[in-house]
């Protein structure tokens, strides 16, 4: 007798979370580094300095931290996007992804509440930070949390192909 069904709602949500968040992270990192909407494309160091100005416009971090975030976040997004798409060690990378998205959500909520007239900087395009940005980030944070919690729950369950426990 199988201990768990091969495909259930939890696994479906994990799969959706992996592909949605993985795809978004991969594109977000790529867009910040290569500025695909800009023609001709500027060199990478200039693209990262431009992203630093978008991070700075949130008025949350000192200059050294702004530079650190701007020069590491796009690469971290690409790595996390790939890891989520592959699905390897999902509990670890899911937790990290959730923490990062919660950080984005907190930054966006704070800026919106303060009435800062800035661009989101999410995908390196001129996208004003509006209430829809807040809702979008909130939904992504919820999806990341659901995916991570379900990944932990699923990891505790015996696999369908594992041997039944002896009485």
């Amino acid at each position: 007798m199988m201990q768990s069904s091969p495909f259930n709602l939890r696994r479906a949500l994990i799969l959706i979370g992996r592909f949605v968040l993985g795809g978004i992270f991969l594109y977000a990192g790529y867009a910040k580094i290569f500025l695909p909407n800009m023609n001709p494309h500027p060199p990478i160091k200039i693209a990262l300095s431009l992203f630093a100005m978008q991070v700075d416009s949130y008025q949350m971090l000192p200059p050294w931290a702004v530079n650190f975030v701007a020069h590491t976040l796009p690469f971290a997004e690409i790595a996390l996007g790939l890891l989520l798409l592959i699905g390897w060690q999902l509990r670890i990378w899911g937790t990290l992804t959730s923490l990062i998205i919660l950080g984005f959500f907190a930054a966006v909520v704070r800026s919106y509440a303060l009435g800062l007239q800035i661009n989101c900087g999410c995908f390196a395009n001129p996208e004003p930070l509006t209430i829809s940005t807040v809702f979008r980030d909130g939904l992504l944070a919820a999806l990341a949390l659901v995916m991570t919690v379900f990944a932990f729950i699923e990891a505790r369950k015996p696999h369908s192909w594992s041997a039944p426990e002896k009485a």
């Binding site: 800009m38 200039i46 700075d56 790595a79």
Partner: protein, 214 residues
């Protein structure tokens, strides 16, 4: 075990591919560009500067004041006066601000008699006062001589300044500006929009990167 190796190889292969793209983009040459519709009365620095920065600003916007006092003053000292950056003031009076258009008129009138810099400074530094009282005229009068102020008042009443303000506004809309301050930075044919307040340290890094391009 085999599955794990496949996953690791896929990950490593993708990272290698990205590194190749990074290296290919690292030394990409850039082309030169030119900006039109520059009013020399509201621009600072050398016209031949390698970087041109257009600042779409509203005299009544608090963030514009922060950008002016915290960043652009240092920018003027270190980049504009040294011929590295050509800084252009663009009027973008937001309809939500009751006195910003009249302030823009006074700014333009002062620019026509060569007094834009002190008027811009006094309007931003006393923003909270004239925002409450609506006394833009009195604020501007505090930094100009009686003769200059008479010229400014005549220009403001003449009604010829609206066209310039509208032209700047239309240019901003063409750049998709919808909030102030928005800085449009041009260098080597590239256009970089920067929305909101940026600290001088971060802007200085970006400008140095642009200026070091070969």
């Amino acid at each position: 075990m085999i599955r794990q190796r496949i996953l690791v190889l896929t990950f490593a292969g993708t990272l290698f591919g990205l590194c190749c793209i990074l290296l290919a983009h690292a030394g990409m040459p850039q082309s030169a560009g030119a900006i039109s519709d520059i009013d020399p009365h509201t621009a600072f620095g050398s016209k031949t500067a390698p970087v041109v920065m257009e600042v779409f600003s509203d005299f009544q916007c608090p963030a514009c004041k922060t950008l002016y006092t915290g960043t652009n003053r240092q920018l003027m000292d270190n980049y504009v006066s040294t011929g590295k950056v050509y800084l252009i003031h663009r009027d973008f009076p937001l309809p939500m601000h009751a006195h910003s258009r009249i302030a823009a008129r006074y700014g333009r009138a002062a620019a026509q008699i060569g007094k834009f810099e002190p008027v811009e400074q006094v309007l931003f530094q006393n923003q909270e006062k004239w925002e409450q009282s609506g006394d833009v005229d009195g604020t501007v009068a505090s930094v100009l001589s009686a003769a200059d102020m008479a010229k400014v008042r005549a220009l403001v009443k003449g009604g010829t300044l609206e066209a310039g303000i509208d032209k700047d506004y239309a240019l901003g809309q063409a750049y998709h500006v919808n909030q102030t301050p928005t800085s449009i930075i041009h260098s080597r044919g590239q256009t970089f929009p920067v929305v909101g307040v940026v600290s001088y340290d971060i802007l200085h890094n970006f400008l140095d990167q642009l200026l070091s391009q070969k």
